[in-house]
Subunit: 368 residues, 3 copies
């Protein structure tokens, strides 16, 4: 070949000016859930529900085997959309109406498509705009058990590639989505009580009281393992894994460090809340809204709390109820000399995550 | 919800005053061994026995497939007991009569129960006491292949929650346990010699000489990966994963750092000893006693040595023998200016682990 | 036992004086590819070809399931040879005629043997010499689907154990090897076009133009995760995992740090090139030559570029073509005050990896 080859610099991902009303992305790749991904992520997340830990328990309940916890389904599905939607994003602003459908098992393959619902530009920040999308994750496309596993909307702040291009705002309504949480039938012949010691004894529907806030006891320090964890999800956003890019412009990034993918604290908060809130859940129904309220970086320790907002009967199942909660994640940062009510002396509590979360929870009357 | 929800702070784990004579814990969770857990842990541990590496070798020997190495079985089983027994512990003092039973395969589910045998208080340290427990790990409870996979006792130093509570000492005898190492039959029709190149050539029963000490050649630096490795085992002890807790009281913890879960050097020492001692073993029979003698922290490099204490015929199998060893783990710490016989100049050797270990080892006469 | 046991210090691996002409090593261990290894390594490597991500895609193409990407096959096979060939090496000098054969799936067991082709001593460095070997990796030895998965030669610089021993140079010809890349048949009844959205749209045979150089957009910072990644491959070389050994003689090692196993940047470069070059490949045919040109250490960020050297028709398949490329890996190091054309101000680009790589690539005319 010649000494001076023609150089091709590929761009990946889309920029603000690329998003068109109603445009649909069928995302590349797809992802088969292996036992490797299942375990690395589920155990990292500190999830404790025996449905994702103990196959005999899961089978007794009517699942095919170990069940992917909601956080894993969410991250696999979400990450499929990153290249097309948010590879060139500044920040993920909001999760909206994130709903779960069919259970996801090891061996299932997730494929995702996303429709562009809106773009909103900002006169004050002409190089950025907000993209509003709706995504649907299906499992096992083209097979007998094809089903919707998840559906959600999100809003994300995306950079322009060429600031001189005028971008017009638009907004479409979201499509109706047929995504209902699959629940195993209650089977009176199953000895649920004989399995009850495997989940926490005080997180049944009867135990969760509206008007309470449960401070979950455990914390988890996140290390630079976050780079590999984000990679294992096929999340390609460079701000999570390319330190050289950050070294070139350290002022653009908090502390000149890689920023931890929001999905990491998302699943950690779900996991940390597990023993108190999720151990006797048969699934997360919907996250009506969710936000990352502060960034997380390697070395930070994640904590979580759950506010129980309300409870209601399940419309079709007397063995189950619906619990509406607010899941809050926080970390502590040094604040020398200061005193705050909600933090040890010299520290300040910073909320990093805020999720409206409805769960389907077993009633003790039927299961323990 | 109201602006001021009622706060619930959940305690996890038991404190010294909670342990009652003969009390039995059926631990939560249970754990199905996936290929993810199997590989991450087995390969981390540097285990080399082809039974846990090479499925065709394991099947030829009469196992169903890849066999979990003893260290993995031990850590999965042990970790199931952490929340109830040692979440609030200061230190694990001793492993006693740790016995292996049925082989554990990928897909098996481990569930554990623990009986409280004793509590011993100390007048000199009124906020602490020693709890003595006996645990049994079963695989595949309720299924046709249900079997005891492990049984052991341990002593652990546990904090009181309320120092003002008087705790009385007690001691029960351990229960007899029916836990015998399963061994595949010797099958003269199998071409064992045709597989012999896959294990080390000099670690047969005939090779291991009482009165020798084998300094295993390899070392392994442990990084902050230990946090994730401990988490993947569902070990919830905060001292291994919550740096913020340590930052609040750094003087309570060595070097103000997270302490590496003892199970990590335990399996590393087993693994490092593999090529010289374990490659031609069909299983570990019993660890009569074992102790962690110094803490390990991220950045330390683990080494190991094996003293061959004795050998004896296997009571029922002429193709096998029993080798009694002492497995020692060590690390080196800086000791500027000092000279020690057993360490490079300027360094001091520190024993971190000490285990009395009996293995069942193949005879070359039958296998190579 | 006595207070003063006899000490045995085992050596592992061979030294320059141990290699004899034509000597063959049947390497220990073997390795079954689990879903844990598959996922941890494949996803770490940033591989994007749906054949290794999406089981329904792989099956539609005629594979049995998820296909191990070439980098994983290579590293598993290569690492099997480390103890015997390069545990006591200073550096791996060259990969030669690395060819792929049968596809490797989860569940397959890889076993490797290596023949010594040559030794070359050096008068200027009497303590070192170059060992030239030829290795063959088979899958599922003794089973119905036994096949050659890979074959390659390499040259490696190995230390003498005893400098006073004279070593004579020798050189044998490599054996002919029957290692042909298995390709699934083109099946006109398969709806390939219906799957085309799952791979990148612009990396077909028609798209790759000789005389171009594609600068792949992504970078990946490697952390001390490299220690565990190398361990998961059963690569036992101490220079990758034993920091104490390096602390004893920091001047012998770059920066007094662990050196990252060359296999790590090797697979990362393959992965980073994926969306632009590998997404529509049915396999890597041969790496005629490859070299690591600079060491990599924790904290470095890996980038890659591909020069398209040439294209040719596939001799037997009109749906496929062969693309000859040069895959280059690089990193940037600080060079304060300097200006280089190919690096940001204050930085210098350092080539770390250089591989002549031929791929079999699908034609858009047949697949999209």
């Amino acid at each position: 070949m010649s000494d001076a080859p023609r150089i091709i610099r590929k761009k990946t991902g889309n920029f603000l000016e690329d998003f068109k009303p109603g445009q649909t992305f069928r995302h590349k790749g797809g992802k088969t859930i292996t036992e490797g991904l299942f375990t690395v992520f589920t155990d990292f997340s500190m999830a404790t529900n025996p449905l994702c830990k103990n196959a005999r328990y899961a089978r007794a309940y009517g699942y095919e085997g170990l069940v992917c916890p909601p956080g894993l389904v969410m991250l696999v599905a979400f990450s499929q959309t990153v290249e097309d939607i948010s590879e060139n994003a500044r920040a993920n602003l909001e999760y909206i109406d994130m709903q779960y459908g069919a259970p996801v098992y090891v061996g299932d393959t997730i494929e995702v498509e996303t429709k562009v619902l809106g773009v909103r530009t900002s006169s004050s920040r002409p190089n950025l705009g907000i993209v509003h999308v709706q995504s649907i994750a299906r499992k096992n496309v083209g097979q007998a058990d094809e089903a919707i596993a998840m559906a959600w909307q999100r809003k994300v702040q995306v950079y322009k590639d060429d600031e001189s291009i005028e971008v017009e705002s638009f907004q479409l309504d979201p499509d109706p989505v047929d995504c209902d949480l699959w629940l195993p039938a209650y089977d009176a012949s199953v000895d649920y009580k004989g399995l009850a010691h495997l989940s926490s004894p005080d997180s049944y529907f009867e135990d969760l009281e509206p008007g309470t806030r449960i401070e979950h006891s455990r914390g988890r320090t996140v290390t630079d393992e976050h780079i590999a964890l984000t990679g294992i999800l096929d999340n390609t956003s460079q701000v999570h894994c390319n330190q050289f890019m950050i070294d070139l412009a350290p002022d653009r990034y908090v502390g000149g460090q890689l920023i931890i993918f929001g999905g990491i604290p998302f699943v950690l908060c779900l996991g940390i809340s597990g023993p108190d809130v999720g151990d006797n859940s048969l699934g997360d129904l919907i996250y009506t809204t969710g936000k990352h309220t502060a960034p997380l970086q390697a070395g930070d320790t994640v904590f979580a709390a759950t506010e129980v907002l309300g409870k209601e009967d399940h419309p079709e199942r007397e063995d189950l109820g619906i619990v509406k909660t607010r899941l809050l994640g926080h970390k502590f940062v040094r604040d020398e000399g200061a005193e705050h009510d909600d933090a040890p002396a010299g520290w300040k509590k910073v909320t990093i995550f805020d999720l409206e979360r409805a769960l389907v929870v077993k009633r003790r009357s039927h299961y323990a």
